[in-house]
Symmetry: C3
Subunit: 272 residues, 3 copies
């Protein structure tokens, strides 16, 4: 099995061609498309999606391509995690969080070949063949073993907890807005307000480095800690622990992103 | 084989994770994605799509997830149709029309387990494992047999036929607008105007419960009963029996939805 | 293996139903979706995508459906290329360039049956069964052998090379804008400016037959010939030979289509 994630989208034939290359090399391979809807060039969003998916995968190789640096000096790598799972990807931080979830990085192989020409479609020409080799043989294609410490890693966007007038303030990045408008935060469900908390203040602030209009004040909302969507009334904002163990801001049968104007990369403060 | 339909979209990893769960449990399963483009929370649109697809499916289990009530009190069910086909879905009406097309509902099993925690991703945690069990063994996971009559059913949106000044008036709901802009109605091809009918009046009225602007009059168009797109001239509106045996309003190489501003949930009157 | 390309999109169940039909007829078939994101009715875009994909496909039948003439007088055909690969498609030019890439058209079989009813979903009812028969048996379904010269062919959109005040002027159609905004031209990488060329003038002109506003002058930009995205500075426009051997206008980690307002069907002049 090859699990395949990318920012290729489905409008073009990129994904289909990678499938064809995998199948040509390993005729009985099964390819599972995790998603190809990662926003173009958004390595962090790809890393988040991969980390959410990886606990649910059975045996198989992960092929992940979100690759703004294609054709440049960045390495391609095959990464073996502590639990034995292989990842094939550009070395730009994409597989870091997923590999952590699989026991950390145990070994790294450099997929560059001497004299490689500049290229624009390494997913087809480099990463798919490497993933196919791993799927067929369990061994990566030839390449230099490199120090796991040399892997590029993303700076994690962490939640911070403070206080304000006797109240708890949890400041957390928005890591994902899903198709239903659920707003997932970079914090675990346990870090959020306690069960039953009501009147939680949700303060939307500018993203880090973002330009707030002069004099603009954060927009704020009220929310309630719930266990499930169904605990909420129509249009009511809720905070819950989601299916990935993360804290999320939600609306029942509606879009919390539309209600709050939050999007991935934004920052929110919960005060209770 | 598992046939999988949902409103998960393809931007997120939901569909991929469900595939992974199925494959992990049944390594040789083939998963056919019927569509994941059902509008979010739109149970009726999902039920229509499933009913259109099911006559063309070979042996296999149907996994259908359009689930606005996830985490609430709605049941998850495994439904066996009269022809032996199993459906796994939330009990919200989603599989009713498709099960009817397969000989009606023969048996229903409740997939809830005592002590189930509230949840936000039952597709992954409840329905996929149940579908996998059915695909592997042909038997559903343990669960109480419940009365088929207790299944939630959608109120069908039916066409009605009347007359007006000696003319036939067929009032029909719009059940689907496809990617090409073909407007499918909740009526069979046979219920429509006879072959060769010309000058059919197509009256667009407000959707049931919709707010028509005060004094607004229905917009109307003229159409011709045809056998195929190719019988139509450029931009001409046609009425035909479509590939699902339904009456549809169409434009050759163009969008009847764009021409008429009709969309799913709307209502149209054909007068001839 | 069946390789499947269409303009069906993924919002509806069209693609899923075709998969189901293939699988029903050939239980162990593997179906690779090349793409279903071809713009509706855009035969030329489909032909381009198919020609780009086909060099990377292993053994298997190609099923291609972009079919504005469905239900009309156009034929359905099974086309055998010089290298033995079969294509199943409407006879509207869709498979021409891909078949050329496979050694030209060796044989053509007419898939029409006497008495065929008008239809709206030949992908499901005609082309998928024919592709399944080919995948299972290697032989096409019964049908009249017809003259390969009778196949409908698209007029190729060719680049032309001229001169202007001692400079080279390459006038080329835009054949594709991909998801990342790379603008692919109907010219090979070798036909473009030489390595290292700087200050290349990129003149955007009206598409053939397009209406330029009276007095409108072409918009122009400057670009540099590069080997890879990474040779470019932020926002800088580049010209390179892409992964399909074609000339393309690109921006590093950005959209050349957004920068230049070029889209498929447009025409551009490169002057150096």
């Amino acid at each position: 099995v090859v699990f395949f994630l990318s920012d290729y989208g489905l409008a073009d034939e990129f994904v289909g061609v990678v499938h064809a290359v995998l199948l040509r090399q390993v005729p009985d391979v099964a390819v599972v498309d995790l998603t190809h809807g990662i926003p173009a060039f958004d390595v962090r969003a790809g890393a988040e999606a991969l980390a959410r998916a990886v606990p649910h995968l059975g045996p198989g190789v992960v092929l992940a391509v979100v690759d703004p640096g294609v054709g440049g000096v960045r390495r391609g790598v095959a990464v073996r995690a502590g639990d034995g799972r292989w990842f094939v990807a550009p070395d730009n931080g994409l597989v870091g969080p997923a590999a952590e979830a699989c026991g950390g990085v145990a070994a790294v192989r450099d997929l560059r070949k001497p004299g490689d020409a500049p290229a624009t479609f390494d997913g087809r020409d480099v990463f798919a063949p490497a993933a196919a080799a791993l799927a067929a043989l369990g061994t990566p294609p030839p390449g230099a073993e490199v120090d796991p410490a040399s892997l590029v890693r993303l700076t994690p966007a962490l939640a911070t907890r403070g206080s304000e007038g006797g109240l708890v303030v949890l400041r957390a990045p928005v890591t994902w807005v899903d198709r239903f408008g659920n707003v997932q935060l970079g914090a675990t469900g346990d870090e959020g307000p306690p069960p039953g908390a009501d009147g939680i203040l949700v303060r939307v602030t500018a993203p880090p480095g973002g330009d707030a209009a002069p004099g603009a004040r954060p927009t704020s909302f009220r929310a309630r800690r719930v266990r499930a969507f169904s605990d909420l009334g129509d249009g009511e904002l809720g905070v819950l622990g989601d299916a990935n163990g993360r804290l999320a801001i939600v609306v029942r049968e509606g879009s919390a992103a539309a209600s709050t104007q939050l999007s991935a990369g934004g920052v929110v403060e919960l005060v209770w």
